[in-house]
Subunit: 574 residues, 2 copies
């Protein structure tokens, strides 16, 4: 039975500490505001409850010693407030008081969770890294699929279909109501979630080790999906259905909804999940979202799926996604290179038959009014950095690093030879070498195009995906030696590499950097071993590597040698 | 009046959706569990309430279609649960249902807020950056002090005094109960806080622009202090008193306390503030924390203060703080260089009288059993990077960058000349140049010690403090030109610089990087102006800088020139 505002006000409770005398009762008294909800009525009740004569001089104050009176009673004496009963406002607090507080996290914990997380570095727009959080989740969700694992990123920028939206849709295992509820709980990770009652596992189980840690288990913190949606836009509609379920579950989190709840003094973290039959979109009435009708209609073709639909997309993101399609899809192809191509990467002569790694389809599509949709499968992209490294590599050196107390890092170094007149070490298509300049005239500085140049050797991958802002410059066993070594010094500039590890090494919450990978790798107790023909070998890595590099130089570098200039001959016969 | 468990159970409410028929009532029915809190009793009540014949066949299920029965009733039918009334378990959901959920953020939102934030980069231990969050807060709290602004970082590592603790204590304005309550609210920033009723300002006011943006207003997100305490340890005791208050306010946030509340099914985000008189430590009974008695005793000497006391300090942090005192205090001196020395920095001949910038004392002290305390004031440190740059600079070039639509970035470039036999560009004491090697023999590679080498030109400061992991390599007007310019190419290697901006440019939540400073500075609409004798000049910065660099070379570089070798003479007379 609902109560009137007056009844609710009368039922509000406050906590009064009597601190008039040293001998006063130390604990609090819980009092209700009562029916005459003004100062004089309240003061009378205090006298009555504590047996104080109405003539006695005393004050009632807040814990900041602000005296309560008729004028400020309503705004100061609120439900749950702690008050003092004192002889005077500035009386010394003879014994301590305990003041009840609530410190619910502000809803910006969700709404601003992504805003200042994905920063630009080295000229890269970080938007792909936010999208990567959603792809990570879809890889996890599809990890037990039989058949094709389909992940679609759809940019719905056709104004005829409503406001701009970004949708990430997978054919993974989907979420029950409970799991969708858990998705919304910030910082609830796979480690802290209790076993899902309806599912058949009761807690998190580590995946078995696989090459390059391509375990699809790329979740750790319980925040990534939320950070991503609130970096890209201001509202997320989650739609999901598990395989064995008849019902689709739908949950909306939006900045507007939080602001409305705050304004109406409603519970911020309460909401509801809509449960409905597949392909039922009667609840979509907003014309801005009419694209949802078509998306939802497709549901009946699917056993299980999850769709993350972001609206309120930041205008600068829309511009970037439209105008730099090539750039950011290539970034994604780089990040997920080994997921879409397998542990060996995008080798030129791989079989095109479906196999354990041809079964991950990450498909990006852009829909704009009056234009044909742009669609690309990440596997088709042939100029991401890892593909370029693999295509130009003449040979590779595989190794492992065993870090004391922690895990194992797999590594590979590739050799990019000098062929005739130029280095083959690939340029980053995002940053064409500044030194490729046509007008190097006599007065200019003649600068050799350095192969690797200032770039670090190693990119770093975590659970199979790129961690974009951590690189490892080199190790002491693959850095140019001070004295002349077995191979010429320029050979050290012809190597690139990659390091692969799992969550035995931590990454930062935004998955942009490792916490301390390089520090651990460079610890004096770290042991490096070479992997030759799949076998791990204990040997001195310095020597192994130096021999390999010399061998690469002798086998692969092709340089035209000029002998001493002897003079000019005239050939009148030609 | 408290109720018995049975009474509470009976009062629990569930929400039942009748979906047996298309014509069934679309909304939910709220039902109480009732007195016979088992399945058969419940089923009978459902029949009664909905007017269903007891012989009728129906099932009651969860929203995952799990059928309720006698065995699972207690664990499945909980307070607030949504249930379906269906003809059969697999019946199609003819119309949608709305399922109430709660999605309170997990308390790891606080407890793990710092754990994966402060990452290592370029070989630096990130612990100073976490401590910086607390110094930022103290700078803000002391920004309106008359007289000395005192910030003390005390490492209490004397086992005789209890378990290890890190305390950050300032003589700033302190916090009322309400403000201390607000401190605990994650993501409640100065922008979102309503005016504090007891204080005299109702909302956030931007500080007036000051040189180098040394505005002491280094808060933005409402998370820094929490992230810092939970990066360093597992418990934070906040003690604070405003100037005009008689009472000290104390609040404890700890991982253990959250875990206990969770176990006891108590409200996670409820707690209490202890209000007491200054220097009263009767509530400290744990022997592990006896160091608090002395700290608390000092309170009566203070008008206003805040103390942040972190316990449960991670062992690796204790080791680092003890063993690398020199390193991390130097890091802090670098971060706050311009706060402790003023906008011109640590120039050699500054007045030592108290002035607007000699009034910030950031004092670090380490207390260990059996050792004399190590105490250092950041102002005393003479080998932080900015001091080294300033001390070795022969000249400086000041400029501003006006970014379209945003703010202004102040900049300075310093020239470190070549003197006789060596570059004066300072080495980073953390990373001594690898090329300072004694055994450069004939077979070795003769590598010139590059001055700046591969290092970027510009460090970046935000609201006056260093943002450690963002650097700007160069601008096109101060990068070596392709053709020979006015100054020899090596002069470009003799410059260092710093950029200063305020929150018109965003930083990431952990304050380790700028979000997009370099992108904005390198935008084609960004306008650079030179500052000469304090006056801003519109000119072509390329030419101005090139002329300045040439001038520096001619005035300051001192090289011994060797003429052509003419032969060896024997001097038998010597
Ligand atoms: N596409 C999806 N399909 C199925 N479940 C999903 C999907 N996306 C998210 N979830 C569920 O929601 C949870 C929260 O996702 P979120 O990305 O916010 O955190 P996380 O993946 O657990 O950790 P991290 O912070 O490392 O990403 C996931 O753990 C997963 O259980
Ligand atoms: N030493 C202090 N003295 C007085 N008030 C403080 C102190 N430290 C923190 N506070 C108060 O607590 C609030 C929360 O601090 P916290 O560092 O967590 O977030 P913030 O400083 O607001 O923002 P940021 O995330 O950028 O640090 C501050 O805004 C300030 O009002
Ligand atoms: Mg995730
Ligand atoms: Mg702060």
């Amino acid at each position: 039975a609902s109560s009137s505002p007056l009844e609710r006000r009368a039922a509000e409770t406050l906590y009064l500490f009597d601190r008039r005398e040293k001998e006063s009762e130390p604990g609090e008294r819980a009092l209700q505001i009562g029916e005459s909800a003004d100062y004089s009525g309240f003061r009378a009740r205090v006298c009555q409850t504590l047996g104080i004569s109405p003539e006695e001089k005393f004050v009632i104050t807040t814990t900041s010693r602000k005296e309560i009176n008729c004028d400020n009673f309503d705004e100061t004496v609120k439900d749950g407030v702690t008050l003092y009963l004192l002889r005077s406002v500035n009386q010394l607090l003879l014994s301590a008081t305990k003041e009840r507080i609530d410190f619910l996290p502000h809803y910006d914990t969700l709404v601003k969770s992504g805003m200042y997380e994905y920063y630009a570095s080295e000229g890269q727009n970080p938007l792909p890294f936010a999208l990567a959080e959603l792809i990570d989740n879809s890889l996890s969700a599809t990890s037990r699929n039989n058949g094709i694992r389909r992940i679609q990123i759809k940019l719905l920028f056709d104004e005829a279909q409503g406001k701009p939206a970004v949708a990430v849709i997978d054919n993974g295992r989907g979420m029950t109501s409970k799991q969708l509820n858990n998705w919304a709980v910030y910082r609830l990770s796979k480690f802290t979630r209790q076993g899902d009652f309806e599912s058949d596992h009761s807690g998190y189980v580590r995946p078995v080790p696989v090459p390059r840690s391509l375990n699809s288990d790329i979740s750790y913190f319980g925040v990534g999906g939320k950070q991503a949606v609130f970096f890209v836009g201001q509202s997320a509609r989650m739609i999901s259905k598990p395989a064995d379920s008849h019902d689709v579950h739908e949950l909306l989190l939006s900045k507007d909804d939080f602001e409305k709840k705050e304004k109406n003094k409603e519970a911020i973290y309460s909401g509801y999940i809509r449960n409905r039959k597949p392909s039922d979109s009667v609840h979509i009435t907003n014309d801005d979202e009419r694209f949802l009708h078509h998306l939802i209609l497709e549901e009946k073709e699917k056993d299980s799926f999850t769709a993350v639909i972001i609206t309120g997309v930041q205008p600068e993101h829309i511009q970037y996604l439209k105008n730099y399609f090539h750039l950011w899809t290539r970034q994604l192809a780089h990040i997920y290179h080994y997921y879409v191509h397998g542990p060996k990467g995008n080798e030129i002569h791989t079989s095109k038959e479906a196999g354990p790694f041809n079964n991950i389809d990450i498909e990006i599509s852009v829909y704009e009014k009056g234009k044909a949709p742009k669609i690309v499968n990440l596997r088709e992209i042939q100029d991401d950095m890892q593909t370029l490294y693999i295509n130009t590599a003449a040979d590779s050196f595989e190794f492992k690093a065993h870090v004391e107390g922690d895990g194992v890092v797999e590594g590979i170094i590739r050799y990019h030879p000098f062929l005739y007149d130029r280095e083959t070490y690939p340029d980053d298509p995002c940053f064409p070498s500044k030194l490729k300049d046509e007008d190097d005239d006599d007065d200019g500085f003649i600068i050799e195009k350095a192969a690797r140049g200032k770039r670090p050797i190693f990119e770093c991958f975590w659970n199979g995906r790129l961690i974009p802002y951590t690189s490892v410059e080199d190790f002491d066993w693959c850095t140019p030696p001070k004295k002349r070594g077995l191979a010429p010094i320029e050979c050290y500039n012809r190597i690139s590499g990659a390091l692969f590890t799992n969550d035995k090494f931590q990454v930062s919450t935004n998955k942009l950097t490792f916490m301390d990978l390089e520090l651990k790798l460079k610890d004096k107790n770290t042991l490096f071993t070479r992997i030759l023909n799949g076998q791990e070998q204990r040997m001195k890595i310095d020597r192994e590597f130096a021999l390999w590099l010399k061998d690469c130089h002798e086998k692969y570098d092709k340089q035209i040698k000029f002998t001493v200039f002897k003079g000019i001959t005239t050939r009148p016969d030609l």
